[in-house]
Amino acid sequence: MEVDWPDRWQNVHHYLKRAAPFSVEGFQPGSEVIEYLHECSICIIGAGGLGCELIKNLAMTGFKDIHIIDMDTIDVSNLNRQFLFRQKDVGRSKAEVAAEFIMSRVPGCKVTPYFGKIQDKDEEYYSQFTLIICGLDSVEARRWMNAMIIGMYDEEDPSTLKPLIDGGTEGFKGQSRVILPRMTACYECSLEMQTKPKTFPMCTIANTPRLPEHCIQFASQVQWPEEFKDKKLDGDDPEHIQWCLRKAKERADQYGIRGITYSLTQGVVKNIIPAIASTNAIIAASCANEAYKLVTGCAGSMQNYMMYVGDAGIYTYTFALERKEECPVCGSALLQFEMDKNSLLQDLIDLLLEKNEVQLKRPSLRTSSKSLYMQAPPQLEQMTRKNLEMKLQDLFTSNEEINVTDMNLPISLRLHVKLK
């Protein structure tokens, strides 16, 4: 069956037929670039709100070899915006259903799903792609992917350069950006720009609360509508907040969670940011547009970060985010602290956890000669735990090089502590 009927791709081929005023330098129009567009392999990470849009846009643009990775299954609450999924698909893998849908609608487009985690795959797997696009809602997964493509890049071998296009949305706000390893700022360079996430998946709230916020959302989103069917929860009404506070506390006690306060309750109740379908559409479209330009060269890439806000009018700001020299992933990361020599190792770890620019979760520390504190394996953790209560001067010398790793993050940091 001939899948490419005449004029099928005339719109996307148009810019590839001749060099235009905004084509990149050295752009070679003609059949070669046209073939490359159809043959190159693209990886999409995430088959959710952004992922559904992305895969549709890429397939429509003429990309014919698309891989999509997602570890989640379809939930009823996804159906309102993740438009490749239907009621009958609930419970199935997002990546698999998205791939089937696109292949049934766009003849000649091959979509390979992977139902699992990005961490399951290695460098060899990711090196098969021309570029990678992330449509994720998780900071951790983005950090992992970012570190992967930067680790893969060998300046001596241009074929190891895998551009990363990243999109993200939160309510009416969003951003899209292009990351070229060691040429532009990487995800880790701009980690400080991240605001802490404030919304949580319903399944977490209902089944596995961990944080005080989870208990509060359970009280406000599940218990309140059950108890008061016709009354709307008013975030400014102290009686309402008190009620949620009491319920959240009960639930927190049940799960042994601490830290529920009045102000936290109010903050969580008033700060529910819904996923907005139009924001996803806009950000995913921008990412797909960058993919088309990057792969073909028919126009230059954005420089290199676009932020978008759509609640009052429409505002975008596109700017060149600068690389950070001391970036722990793409730069020569060296953290320098000055601490009292009688401070404890635990104090040093607390200080590390506070550092917003590195955002560590479970740091392990070692010098070239010994392990100071290791989070895993359990035997090692137990052996090094006693060090937490030891004085720094008894563990290492001033400015001795300490290597900091985090089991959840693919980064490693150099740390110098000046003891005084």
Binding site: W5, R8, Q10, N11, V12, H14, Y15, R18, A20, P21, F22, E53, N57, M60, T61, N80, R81, F83, R105, V106, P107, F172, D236, D237, P238, Y262, S263, Q266, G267, I272, P274, A275, I276, A277, S278, T279, N280, A281, I282, A284, A285, S286, A288, N289, A291, Y292, K293, A299, G300, M302, Q303, M306, G310, D311, A312, G313, I314, Y315, T316, T318
Partner: protein
């Protein structure tokens, strides 16, 4: 003729209410409901995208309108899609009545004459018109409506603490805090409005008015510090007090003007209090204070409304709407745009004489607004030559010359002889009126976002034009 008109008729329960201070809103649509209309995005997407969507190849040869209708229904079984398989141009001329039934009209591709005719129909019926188009890497959207009102604009912050004119309960509350106590626990738990109120009280003993100049503000900030000599400078509540200082004074000046003009009246208190460093008890007490005052204000307002409604023999307004109105009293918005006709100087044949300054600035800065004029020139070119520039390979070089000449003629009319625009003008010819799926999807998203804002009367729509440049991934909104 490309089928390029979409109309939305029943998007949820959109009842129109104009009997409340000229503000209309849909009571049934709340913030979260913004997620309820994803189908709209897909419709727009499908419209602009249809040439590539032919890849659903069993549809080739079918009516576009019919296929879209079908896809839409599949996307959301609750949507009723209907279609009219007629030439839009003829329809506008022969059956203009057909358009009057819609709450909103979206146009994605019409000639300039047809667009103008349709815009007139919509304008006279008070129907918002959204024109949206893509052209190569460019996207353009224009909203046209006589009036649009929004109560819930959802500003980032709607906090009004009324510290410039505290009511008696608030003064009493503040008096209870003893600032000179050595107990640092008490000091760190003093809410910042209390600190500000105390500083203001001392200030007023020596000054006739609140500080308004920068110097006065600095000395006021010093007064706050003097108030708490024993407290370390990094106390969070103290910092909050200092940073809230400037916002307070801006509010004071605005409120003062309002008071002088509106007869010693204030806006109803919104009643919300920001998060601040304080112990739960004093915080909740303070919060309750503001809440009660807001309730009282609201009750006053409700009484007025009752009298007004009965005097004017109008239907009583829902109490819930008054609640929302009070919370948003400082942020009500009435928007309106010029008619499309006014931009065409009553006939598309007349050129851009009214855009003198805009053209001059756009040319000087080479910014995205220039694309608006270039797109208008492309439409002109089409009217003159029966096709867009750069669409026929054989004529490419001659189109390039002809198009630049046409654009130059327009510029000369407004007296601009030299400008940094050539790459952008050329780009239009290279684009050859093609539709890129990615740019179409982006504009589809943008336009549906604005359509939902218009339909739900929530948030602020763009006022009133938007241009996206997919080459640089930059965008500009501007008023026509």
């Amino acid at each position: 003729m490309t089928m390029g008109i979409a109309w939305t008729k029943t998007l949820g329960k959109c009842e129109y209410m104009s009997d409340w201070c000229n503000c209309s809103r849909d009571r049934n649509i709340k913030e979260h409901d913004f997620t309820r209309y994803p189908q709209l995005i897909k419709v727009l997407d499908l419209f602009v995208l249809w040439t590539t969507m032919k890849s659903q190849h069993e549809d080739i040869g079918q009516l576009k309108a019919q296929c879209i209708s079908k896809s839409l229904n599949e996307l959301n079984p609750e949507v009723k899609g209907s279609f009219i398989a007629k030439d839009a141009s003829k329809l506008i001329k022969t059956e203009p009545e057909i358009f009057k039934q819609f709450s909103l009209i979206i146009v994605s591709e019409l000639s300039e004459y047809d667009l103008l005719a349709l815009a007139e129909i919509a304008w006279n019926e008070n129907i918002p018109l959204v024109t949206v188009r893509t052209y190569g890497f460019l996207g353009f959207m224009h909203l046209v409506f006589p009036e649009h009102t929004v109560i819930e604009t959802h500003p980032e912050s709607s906090i009004d603490l009324r510290l410039d004119c505290p009511w008696s309960e608030l003064i009493e509350y503040a008096e209870k805090f003893k600032m000179n106590a050595d107990d640092s626990m008490v000091l760190t738990h003093t809410p910042f409005p209390v600190i500000l109120l105390k500083a203001a009280k001392i200030w007023k003993q020596n000054h006739a008015s609140y500080p308004s100049t920068k110097d006065e503000r600095i000395s006021f900030q010093q007064a706050i510090k003097d108030l708490l000599p024993n407290v370390a400078a990094d106390e969070e509540n103290l910092k909050e007090a200092e940073s809230n200082c400037s916002r307070l004074f801006r509010g004071t000046l605005a409120l003062k003007l309002f008071m002088e003009n509106e007869g010693k009246n204030h806006l109803p208190l919104p009643g919300n209090v920001p998060d601040m460093k304080a112990d739960t008890e004093s915080y909740v007490q303070l919060q309750r204070l503001y809440h009660n005052k807001a309730e009282a204000d609201k009750q006053c307002l409700k009484n007025y409304v009752v009298t007004l409604c009965s005097n004017l023999k109008r239907r009583m307004i829902d109490s819930e709407i008054i609640d929302i109105f009070c919370k948003n009293a400082a942020f009500l918005k009435v928007l309106g745009t010029n008619s499309l006709k006014s931009h065409f100087n009553s006939s598309p044949d007349e050129q851009f004489s009214s855009y003198g300054i805009m053209i001059e600035n756009a040319c000087k800065n080479g910014d995205n607004q220039l694309y608006y004029l270039v797109l208008r020139t492309a439409d002109r070119f089409k009217t003159l030559h029966g096709r867009y520039p750069g669409t026929v390979d054989e004529n490419f070089e001659s189109d390039l010359v002809a198009f630049e000449a046409l654009f130059d003629t327009f510029l000369k009319e407004v007296g601009i002889l030299d400008a940094n625009y050539h790459a952008k003008v050329k780009e239009i010819v290279y684009a050859g009126a093609r539709e890129l799926p990615s740019v179409a999807a982006l504009l589809g998203g943008i336009a549906s976002q604005e359509v939902i804002k218009l339909i739900t009367h929530q948030y602020l729509p763009v006022d009133n034009c938007y241009i996206f440049d997919g080459v640089t991934s930059t965008s500009t909104s501007f008023k026509l």
